[in-house]
Amino acid sequence: MSNLLERLFSSRKNWTLPYVLFAALFVVVPLLLIVVYAFTDDGGRLTLANFGKFFDHPEAVNTFIYSIGIAIITTIGCILLGYPAAWILSRSRSRYAQVLILLFILPMWVNVLIRTLATVALFDFCRLPLGEGALIFGMIYNFIPFMIFPIYNTLLKMDRSYIEAAEDLGANSTQVFWKVVLPLSMPGVVSGIMMVFMPTVSTFAIAELLTMNNIKLFGTTMQENINNSMWNYGAALSLIMLFLIAATSLFSSDGKGGSEKGGSLW
């Protein structure tokens, strides 16, 4: 027995065993269950009715499209606000920059629900209406760090000699940015998009709180169905969303040198 254990731990490859088990139990099995549920009815018979139901209900399809719209707006907002922030952070070498980075990380230590409730309180205090505007504000506020850090990382790691080479060849600072810095930081932007777009599609808590349940996102639809024991329909909706996410990640890793140029998430 002890011999067996010794053999088991002698190879470093076997050390991954606990993680493989964990992933199998809590990732692979649930995924398989979603697939099984999505393609069966209450009685366990094979069917495509769950998907048919989704495409027959304009309300569900509209929610789906609306959610994607919100996710796209959030992502674009995060890029527009996050890129300059990442640029400033990566450029300043002072202690002031360290403080700034800390300020960006700080909100992430607070639970997302508490942050969102605080946002609601803030809107109330300023007498601003809750609704679509508040929703987009809340989404960007919650997800912007996930956009800033991957971009910040690629900018920080970028070899300064590329910038110098561009200047040397006659590019002024605007041209250096558009022709060299931005293209070279695209892996970071792609990572940021993955980190922001995917989770925003399936959010529901932020939407519920910031619109007082007036605006329904796709995440809410899924949650409602599953809460009301419509397991099969809920599973089908989840699968549709998973399919969309898989499609986005395929699209983004397709970009030239997306992963190999080191556009790391963190």
Binding site: E164, A165, E167, G170
Partner: protein
């Protein structure tokens, strides 16, 4: 339009500080149009900083830089008529070979057909025809270097700056590229400013070599000048192999070293003046002992170097390095001869250490940031400024930095045939020069002790 003789680059009195570190110290340099100039020096001597000042990536802390007659201190890099080939090439990874080379032309809004013609010509110049649409990452180091050169010369700069462009290539490739660069310089007819730490490369390529050390220019001259007439022991040691020995200039045309009188051709040093003597190892004749021998000695080692043999011969206490096509066996007694023309005499920069100090009391003096005990002095008030002199061989170095009165780092080692002459940078940024028989390495942290008997005080 200036006359043809007007220098293309004029650097006057330029210094550069990073924080409180001085990287360039009052540098003067003027470069003629069309010259191939090499800035040569060990790492950290400021040569790359000088190049970056010309390119515009750094601003000079003081002094003036002129390119083509125009002061450029405040001109950003993109407006200067120079282009740079970077050490690590810095080719844009998101662009292919064609777009990399066309980068500068596109910024000038050149028309498509002209641009294509120029890019093709540049590629042909560096021998990379048909590589236009290759990914830069798929190229070898040598090919990337060629593209980097093409990217720079396609803009037709007045001056091409090259920052150790061949450092990352293997020896064979480096030799080939050296020849190509020289040929390219001839065909383009523009000024090349080339930075390297490789003395052989500098000798091969340049019209003019600028030798730098510790932020200062040591010598400017043609390769033959620099090699044959080094101005000081640093240059002699850095360029090629050499025997550097202590000597005494007895009179014009007569010098003593290795306890022997030699005839030489140098004049005007005065009588009985201590000097440094440089003899290149290939200038020493070696033969079986005979009457013709000026020095006799015993062969200590003999190494085959491909074309010649390199031998060390011990004459009395002095080790002399000799290069010859014939090998002499280790242990064999040999005679050595040096012709007058091959003996190079250099002024000694100093004959002892000199420090500025302050007398603290009868038997203590402060210099180098420390208080030292000295032999008692009389009739001088405390806090009198004093000049302190210490002979090179009276300073003691200790392995354990904590054992010394102060600590320092070994910066430069010169072998003088029978001892080592070290330059030690003390914690207070003053150089201490030490003669020793012990072997130390560059960068060693040492303790420095100065015995009281060694301290000579001179009152103004």
């Amino acid at each position: 339009m200036q006359g043809e003789n007007r220098p293309i680059i004029e650097i006057s009195n330029v210094s550069k500080h990073f924080g409180d570190k001085t990287v360039l110290d009052h540098v003067h340099l003027s470069i003629k149009k069309g010259e191939f100039v090499t800035i040569l020096g060990p790492s950290g001597c400021g040569k790359t900083t000088l190049l970056r000042l010309i390119a515009g990536f750094h601003a000079a802390s003081e002094g003036e830089i002129r390119i083509a007659g125009e002061e450029v201190n405040r001109i950003p890099p993109y407006k200067r008529p120079v282009n740079t080939v970077f050490q690590k090439y810095a080719l844009f990874p998101h662009l292919n070979v064609y777009d990399n080379i066309a980068f500068g032309l596109k910024l000038k809004k050149m028309a498509q057909p002209d641009m294509e013609k120029k890019v093709k010509a540049a590629l042909k110049m560096v021998g990379m025809t048909d590589y236009e649409y290759r990914d830069v990452d798929s190229l070898s180091g040598g090919q990337q270097q060629r593209v980097a050169i093409a990217r720079a010369i396609v803009n037709e700069p007045e001056v091409l700056l090259l920052d150790e462009p061949l450092a990352a290539l293997d020896l064979k490739m480096r030799k080939d590229m050296q020849m190509e660069l020289k040929e390219m310089h001839r065909r383009l007819g523009i000024t090349f400013v080339y930075v390297t730490h490789d003395q052989e490369e500098a000798l091969t390529l340049s019209d003019t070599i600028v030798v730098m050390s510790e932020g200062k220019i040591q010598q400017i001259g043609t390769p033959t000048d620099i090699y044959n007439e080094p101005i000081n022991s640093f240059v002699a040691d850095f360029i090629g192999e050499s025997n550097i020995l202590n000597g005494t200039m007895v009179d014009d045309g007569e010098v003593i070293f290795c306890r022997h009188h030699f005839e030489c051709v140098d004049k005007g040093f005065g009588k009985n003046v201590p000097v440094d003597v440089v003899v290149r190892p290939e200038d020493v004749y070696i033969f079986p002992v005979s009457d013709a021998a000026q020095l006799t000695g015993v062969v200590q080692s003999c190494i085959f170097k491909g074309v010649h043999y390199e031998m060390t011969v011990l004459c009395d206490d002095y080790e002399i390095m000799v290069q010859d096509y014939h090998a002499f066996e280790v242990g064999q007694e040999v005679g050595l001869l040096v012709k007058p023309f091959d003996i190079h005499i250099m002024h000694k920069e100093r004959t002892c250490n000199t420090f500025e100090g302050v007398l603290k009391d009868d038997c203590h003096v402060e210099f180098l940031g420390c208080k030292f005990e000295c032999l008692p002095v009389q009739g001088q008030a405390p806090d009198t400024p004093v000049t302190v002199e210490v002979d090179f061989d009276r300073i003691v170095l200790q392995d354990d930095a904590g054992d010394g009165m102060l600590t320092g780092e070994v910066k430069f080692i010169l072998y003088k045939g029978d001892h080592y002459h070290l330059t030690v940078l003390s914690d207070w940024d003053e150089n201490v020069f030490v003669d020793t028989n012990d072997v130390w390495d560059d960068g060693d942290q040492v303790g420095i002790t100065i015995p009281k008997e060694a301290i000579r005080l001179k009152f103004v």
